[in-house]
C-alpha cells in the first residue's frame, strides 16, 4: 500500500480517536456548574481568567468557612480498613511472638551449655540468636505500620484507647529502648563478655520482652473484656482497665504459645539448613537443632490447651453470652477448623518423633507400639473434629431425626472433645517418652517397679479422664463445666510424675545404641516445616477468634463499630485472609533465614577459605 496513504489514514484515525475522547469527556462531565460572572474585571485580565480566579476564591472562602469535624473513620483502598489492619496486626504479632520466644530458649540452651560445659549448646543458642536482629526490625516496622494504620483509619477509636491507656505508652517506649539495648548486646556480645554477664543480658532481654508483651496485652484484652470504665466508657480506674478480666489469661496463653510458635519456626530454619547441607557434620548439627526447636515447640504446645481453658473460663466469667458465642454460637465451627489444625500438629509431631527413633540404634523394643499410638491419635483426632451438628439436606435430617447424627452427635460435645484432647496429649507424651528411652537401658535396681508405676499412672489417668468424660453426659451443666479441671490436672500430674520417675530411672543408664544425628530421611525435615506452617496458621486463626469475638464492637459493650466493616465475615473469608497472612509471613521469614545464612558465607572476593563471623565468633571460638 502507498506509504502516504498509510500515514494519512493513521492521522485520520488519531484525530478521530482524539475527537471521540473529547466528546466522551464532555458527556461525562454533566455536573451542574453555575455560570460565573465576573463582578470586577481586573485590568488586563480576560473575562475567562477572571472567572477562574473568582472560582478559586469562592472555593477557598467556602473551605475556610467549613467547620472542622474530626473524622470517625477513613477507608483503606481496595481491601478496606479492616482487612488492612487485620493483616498488618497479625504479621506484627507473629514477628513479636518469634522475637519474644527465641531469646527464651536461646537463654535456656545457653544456660544448659554453661552448666554442662558442652560447647555445642552454646553454638546452638547462638544459631537461634542469629535469627533475632532482622526479626526485631520487622517487628518494630510492622508495629509502626499498625500504629499509623490505626491513627489513619480508626481515629476516633485510637483516640479513645489513648484516653484509657496513654499512661502506659511512655513505659512501653522505654521498655522498647531497653529491649533493643539488651537484644543487640546479647547478640553482638556473644563470646565477648564473661559467660555470666552474657547470661545476665539474656535474662534481661527476656524479662523486658515479657514486660512489653504484658503492656500490649492489656490494650488487646481491654478491647474484648473492658474494665475500669463506666457504662458509657468513661475511665474510672486505670489499673482496672489494665488488669481487666482476660489480661492475665492472655499473658499466660501468649507466653506459652509464643514459645511453641518460636520453637517451630526455629525448627523450620534448621530443617531448611539441613535440606541444603553439604556435609554430614552440617546435617548432624541442623538435625540436632531441628530436634531441639521441635522439642521446645511441642513441650510448650502440650500445656497450651490448659492455658486456653483458663482464657475461655475467664471469657465466660466476664460475659456468658460472649463465651457461648465463641464455643456454641457463630464461632463454634471455627473450633472444628482448629481441631483439624491441632490434630495435624499432633500427627506430625508424633510422626517426627517416630522417624527420629530411626537415628538411634536399639529402637526395636518401642517401634512395635507405634501402631497403637497412631490408632489412639487417629481416634482422638476424629472425636475432636466431630461437629455438634452437621450440614445436611432435608431428607438426611429426616433420616437422622434431627441435625444431630444419632451416634456421632454425642461426640460433638465438650465432654467428648475435652476427653479426646487430653488423651491426645497423653499419647504424644508417651511417644516422647519412648523416643527418650530409645537406645538406653536402665541400670537401677528398681527399674522394673519403676516401669510398672509409670504404666499404672498412665493407665489410671487415662481411665480417669475417660470416666469423667462419660460422667459429663449425665450431670447438669454447672457440674459438667467443672469436670475439665480434674481432667487437666490429672494429665499434668501424669506427665510430671512419669518424667520424674524416668529421669531417676535413666540415671547412669547403659547406652545400647548410638545416636546418629543427621541420619534421618529428608521427609522428616519437611514435617518440621509443615509443623511451622500449621502453628502459624493456628496462630492466625486464634488471633481472628479473639478479635472477631467482639463482633460489632471496637471495645465490647463500650464503643460500637459504626464503620462499613461492622459485620462479622464468614469463616471462609477469614480463612482466606489467614492464608494470605501466613504466606506473607513465610516470605518475610524466608528473607530472615537467608540473611542469617549470609553470616556463614565467605566474604565477597575472598578465595573461599576466609569465612567471616560464623567461624571466628565467640559461639564457635569457645568464648564461654
Amino acid at each position: 500500500m502507498n506509504p502516504r496513504l498509510l500515514i494519512a489514514a493513521a492521522v485520520v484515525v488519531l484525530l478521530g480517536l482524539g475527537g471521540a475522547v473529547r466528546v466522551y469527556l464532555a458527556l461525562e462531565n454533566q455536573a451542574y456548574h453555575p455560570p460565573v460572572r465576573s463582578t470586577q474585571v481586573e485590568q488586563g485580565a480576560a473575562p475567562r481568567e477572571q472567572a477562574v480566579r473568582d472560582i478559586a476564591k469562592a472555593t477557598e472562602t467556602k473551605a475556610k468557612a467549613k467547620k472542622y469535624e474530626p473524622p470517625t473513620y477513613r477507608t483503606f483502598p481496595v481491601v478496606g480498613s479492616r482487612v488492612a489492619v487485620w493483616i498488618v496486626a497479625q504479621l506484627h504479632l507473629m514477628f513479636a511472638a518469634f522475637v519474644l520466644a527465641v531469646p527464651m530458649f536461646a537463654f535456656i540452651i545457653e544456660l544448659i551449655g554453661y552448666f554442662n560445659g558442652d560447647k555445642r549448646y552454646n553454638k546452638l543458642a547462638y544459631e537461634f540468636a542469629k535469627l533475632l536482629s532482622t526479626s526485631f526490625s520487622f517487628t518494630a516496622s510492622f508495629g509502626g505500620f499498625l500504629t499509623f494504620l490505626l491513627i489513619m483509619l480508626y481515629p476516633a477509636f485510637t483516640n479513645y484507647m489513648m484516653e484509657i491507656f496513654s499512661w502506659t505508652f511512655i513505659p512501653y517506649v522505654m521498655l522498647f529502648f531497653a529491649e533493643a539495648g539488651f537484644l543487640y548486646s546479647y547478640y553482638y556480645g556473644w563470646g565477648k563478655f564473661h559467660p555470666v554477664v552474657h547470661l545476665f543480658l539474656g535474662l534481661g532481654l527476656n524479662l523486658i520482652g515479657t514486660g512489653i508483651m504484658f503492656i500490649a496485652d492489656s490494650w488487646a484484652s481491654f478491647m474484648m473484656t473492658p474494665g475500669g470504665v463506666s457504662d458509657v466508657g468513661a475511665l474510672i480506674d486505670p489499673w482496672a482497665a489494665f488488669d481487666n478480666f482476660t489480661w492475665m489469661p492472655i499473658n499466660i496463653h501468649r507466653f506459652i504459645g509464643n514459645i511453641a510458635f518460636g520453637g517451630s519456626i526455629a525448627a523450620a530454619y534448621a530443617a531448611w539448613k539441613f535440606l541444603g547441607a553439604k556435609s554430614d557434620e552440617e546435617r548432624a548439627h541442623y538435625d540436632w537443632m531441628g530436634y531441639m526447636g521441635n522439642f521446645v515447640a511441642i513441650s510448650a504446645f502440650l500445656p497450651l490447651p490448659f492455658a486456653g481453658y483458663y482464657l475461655a473460663l475467664e471469657i465466660y466469667g466476664y460475659n456468658q453470652a460472649l463465651g457461648i458465642m465463641m464455643m456454641g454460637g457463630a464461632f463454634s465451627w471455627l473450633f472444628i477448623i482448629q481441631a483439624v489444625l491441632i490434630g495435624n500438629l499432633f500427627l506430625a509431631a508424633n510422626y517426627y518423633l517416630w522417624l527420629g527413633m530411626g537415628r538411634i540404634q536399639g529402637t526395636q523394643p518401642y517401634q512395635k507400639y507405634v501402631k497403637y499410638l497412631l490408632a489412639s491419635i487417629t481416634i482422638c483426632f476424629a472425636v475432636w473434629a466431630t461437629p455438634r451438628s452437621i450440614l445436611a439436606s432435608v431428607s438426611e435430617i429426616k433420616a437422622m431425626g434431627g441435625t444431630l447424627h444419632p451416634a456421632l452427635g454425642f461426640l460433638g460435645v465438650m465432654s467428648a472433645k475435652n476427653t479426646a484432647v487430653n488423651c491426645l496429649i497423653l499419647t504424644t507424651y508417651v511417644s516422647f517418652l519412648f523416643y527418650r528411652r530409645t537406645g538406653k537401658e536402665p541400670t537401677v535396681s528398681w527399674a522394673g517397679i519403676g516401669n510398672i508405676i509409670q504404666f499404672l499412672i498412665f493407665a489410671g489417668v487415662t481411665s480417669f479422664v475417660i470416666a469423667l468424660g462419660i460422667y459429663g453426659y449425665f450431670v447438669e451443666a454447672a457440674v459438667r463445666i467443672q469436670l475439665s479441671i480434674p481432667q487437666v490436672a490429672s494429665v499434668l500430674f501424669a506427665m510430671v510424675a512419669m518424667t520424674i520417675i524416668d529421669a531417676f530411672m535413666l540415671r547412669g543408664a547403659r547406652e545400647t545404641g548410638e545416636t546418629h544425628w543427621g541420619k534421618l530421611p529428608n521427609i522428616s525435615q519437611y514435617v518440621l516445616i509443615f509443623i511451622a506452617v500449621t502453628f502459624t496458621w493456628l496462630m492466625g486463626l486464634m488471633g481472628y477468634v479473639r478479635s472477631g469475638l467482639r463482633q460489632h464492637w471496637h471495645v465490647y459493650g463500650v464503643m460500637r463499630d459504626q464503620s462499613l466493616d461492622a459485620f462479622t465475615p464468614t469463616l471462609g473469608f477469614a480463612t482466606q485472609i489467614i492464608s494470605v497472612i501466613v504466606i506473607i509471613f513465610f516470605a518475610f521469614i524466608a528473607f530472615v533465614f537467608w540473611l542469617s545464612s549470609l553470616h556463614d558465607k565467605p566474604d565477597w572476593g575472598s578465595d573461599g577459605h576466609g569465612s567471616h563471623g560464623g567461624s571466628s565468633d565467640g559461639a564457635h571460638g569457645g568464648g564461654h
Binding site: Q320, A321, A477, Y526, T534, W537, F567, T568, L571, T575
Partner: protein, 163 residues
C-alpha cells in the same frame, strides 16, 4: 527429576495454606450483621407486643444464644424458656409474673434458678442494651410461653428509666 529444596518448601507452605483454606470453606458460612433496631410504635396491642418481643429476643436481645425453647434434659447451660409464662407466676412468693420477669431481666443475679450458675447479663446495659419498651415486649413474649400475656405498653416497671 529432583526438585530444588526451595521450590519444595514454597509448594509445602502454599499447599498447606490452601488445604486449610479449603477446610475453612467446608464449614457453614454465616455472615453476622449487627442486630437491627426494631421500631416499636407507642400504641401496640399486647398481641403485637408478643410478636415484636420475639423479634427482639431473636435479634438484638441475643437471648436464644444461651436459652432454648422446648428442649429438656440435663445438658442445658441455661434454663429452657418453655412454660416460663406459667412458672413465672409462682416462682417467687409474693411476686407476680411481670415483676418476676422484669427482675430477671434488669437484675438477673437476684434470683438464680436452682441447678444453674449465674451468667445472665443485665439486659438494659451494654452490650445488649435493650430499651425499656423493648423489655416490655420481651416480657409479653415470655408470658406467652405457657401463660397469657398481660403486659401493655403503659405497664410501669420499677427499673424503667425512660419515659
Amino acid at each position: 527429576m529432583k526438585m530444588p529444596v526451595s521450590l519444595n518448601v514454597v509448594l509445602l507452605v502454599v499447599g498447606s495454606s490452601l488445604f486449610y483454606t479449603y477446610v475453612g470453606q467446608l464449614v457453614p458460612q454465616k455472615q453476622l450483621m449487627p442486630p437491627a433496631e426494631v421500631l416499636i410504635a407507642a400504641d401496640l396491642t399486647t398481641d403485637q407486643m408478643v410478636k415484636v418481643g420475639f423479634e427482639v429476643v431473636q435479634q438484638k436481645g441475643l437471648c436464644l444464644t444461651c436459652h432454648t425453647v422446648g428442649k429438656g434434659g440435663a445438658g442445658l447451660r441455661f434454663p429452657d424458656l418453655a412454660g416460663i409464662g406459667d412458672r413465672a407466676k409462682s416462682r417467687k412468693p409474693g411476686m407476680d409474673d411481670v415483676h418476676y420477669l422484669a427482675e430477671s431481666l434488669y437484675h438477673p443475679d437476684v434470683y438464680i434458678v436452682p441447678g444453674f450458675n449465674p451468667g445472665m447479663p443485665v439486659i438494659n446495659k451494654p452490650p445488649i442494651g435493650l430499651t425499656d419498651t423493648e423489655i416490655l415486649c420481651v416480657i409479653a413474649w415470655l408470658q406467652s410461653l405457657g401463660g397469657t400475656p398481660s403486659v401493655t405498653m403503659t405497664t410501669k416497671l420499677p427499673d424503667q428509666t425512660q419515659g
